[in-house]
C-alpha cells in the first residue's frame, strides 16, 4: 500500500533535478532547523480520497498536494518567486510512475497547479520571510 511519504519521495526526486543545488527539500514528517537555510521547500499531501465508484472498479485515489516555498534574506523576493515558478512548472500536468521495491505500482497524474503569495514580510514575526504556496490536485491510478 502506498503512503503519502512514498508519493512525496517520488515527487521530490523528480523535482530535485530542476531545482538549484543546495535547496532544502522537506516533506511532512521531516525535521529540519529552518534557521540554517535561506530557502527551503515543504511538500505535503493534504488530502487523500476515493472517488465514488463501483466496488469492482480499480481503486483510484484523488489527492491534493501543497508545496510551500520559503525564503528569507539574503534570498531576494524574486528568487523565491522564481523557485516557486520552477516547482510549479515541474508539477504541471505531471505524469509520474510510482515505484515500490523497483516495481511500478501506480501512475500519479497531476493537473494544473495554483500559486499563491502568502508573504507577510512586514509583520514582526515573519520579518523578511517570503512564502509562496503551490497547490495541485491529482489522481493516483493503480497499475
Amino acid at each position: 500500500m502506498l503512503t503519502p511519504t512514498d508519493l512525496l519521495e517520488a515527487i521530490l526526486q523528480h523535482n530535485r533535478l530542476a531545482l538549484p543545488t543546495g535547496t532544502t527539500l522537506l516533506k511532512s514528517g521531516d525535521a529540519a532547523d529552518s534557521s540554517l537555510s535561506f530557502v527551503w521547500l515543504e511538500y505535503w499531501v493534504d488530502r487523500l480520497g476515493s472517488p465514488v465508484a463501483r466496488r469492482v472498479a480499480p481503486h483510484q485515489t484523488d489527492l491534493s498536494i501543497t508545496v510551500n516555498c520559503f525564503g528569507r534574506p539574503p534570498t531576494t523576493p524574486s528568487q523565491v518567486q522564481t523557485l516557486a515558478e520552477t516547482v510549479c512548472q515541474q508539477l504541471t500536468r505531471l505524469r509520474l510512475p510510482i515505484q515500490q521495491d523497483t516495481v511500478t505500482v501506480g501512475l500519479l497524474t497531476l493537473n494544473e497547479p495554483e500559486m499563491r503569495d502568502l508573504s507577510r514580510p512586514a509583520t514582526q514575526k515573519s520579518a523578511g520571510l517570503r512564502q509562496w504556496s503551490i497547490s495541485v490536485r491529482g489522481t493516483l491510478h493503480p497499475q
Partner: protein, 168 residues
C-alpha cells in the same frame, strides 16, 4: 433466502456485456459511472366513448422495447481488434469493432445485439439481484471529453418488453 431492506446504490452494481459466441465473450465494465438507467414502456390504446373517459375503455397496445443507457469512463478505445493479445475493450464491444471477433446474440441478418447483465449486490450479502437485458442494440454511442475524464455514453434498446430479474 431472505430479502434485506438495505438500500442499494451505484457501488453495489456490476455490469457485464456478453456476445453471442459459445461460450460467450464477456466484458465486465469496470469504469462505468454507475448511471445505468432503463425504462419499461407499456403502450395502451385509450378508446373513449364520444370523448368521454368515464364510459370509455382501454386496450393493450403494441409491445414496446426497453430503453436503456449508461456511461463509462474512457480508457483505451481499441484493444483486441488491434492486437488479439490485448483485452476486449468497451468501445469494441459496443461498436462490434471488426477484428474483435464478436458475435451477435441475434440471428444472422438481424441487427447486431448483445446481452447486458447487471448484478446488484446486496450490501448485507444475502439476496443479490441479476437483471438481464437480451438483444440489446445500439441507438447511439456518444464520446465526450471532460476535464477530469472522457466519457463513453451508450444509449440503446433491448428488444424485449423488459429485463429478466432473478435472485442470485
Amino acid at each position: 433466502m431472505p430479502t434485506t431492506p438495505v438500500t442499494r446504490n451505484l457501488r453495489d452494481g456490476e455490469l457485464v456485456i456478453k456476445d453471442g459466441s459459445t461460450p460467450p465473450q464477456f466484458l465486465t465494465v469496470l469504469l462505468d459511472e454507475g448511471d445505468l438507467s432503463w425504462t419499461h414502456k407499456l403502450k395502451t390504446i385509450e378508446v373513449k366513448d364520444r370523448g368521454s373517459i368515464a364510459t370509455g375503455h382501454t386496450r393493450l397496445g403494441d409491445d414496446e422495447a426497453t430503453e436503456l443507457s449508461f456511461s463509462a469512463k474512457w480508457t483505451q478505445l481499441i484493444g483486441k481488434s488491434h492486437n488479439p493479445a490485448d483485452p476486449l475493450t468497451l468501445y469494441e464491444a459496443l461498436m462490434f469493432q471488426p477484428g474483435a471477433n464478436l458475435h451477435s446474440t441475434s440471428q444472422p441478418g438481424e441487427q447486431n445485439t448483445l446481452t447486458l447483465e447487471f448484478t446488484v449486490t446486496d450490501p448485507a450479502g444475502l439476496a443479490n439481484d441479476k437483471i438481464v437485458f437480451t438483444k440489446v442494440y445500439r441507438e447511439s454511442l456518444t464520446m465526450s471529453e471532460g476535464e477530469k475524464t472522457n466519457l463513453i455514453a451508450f444509449s440503446g434498446r433491448s428488444f424485449s418488453t423488459g429485463p429478466t430479474v432473478t435472485r442470485v
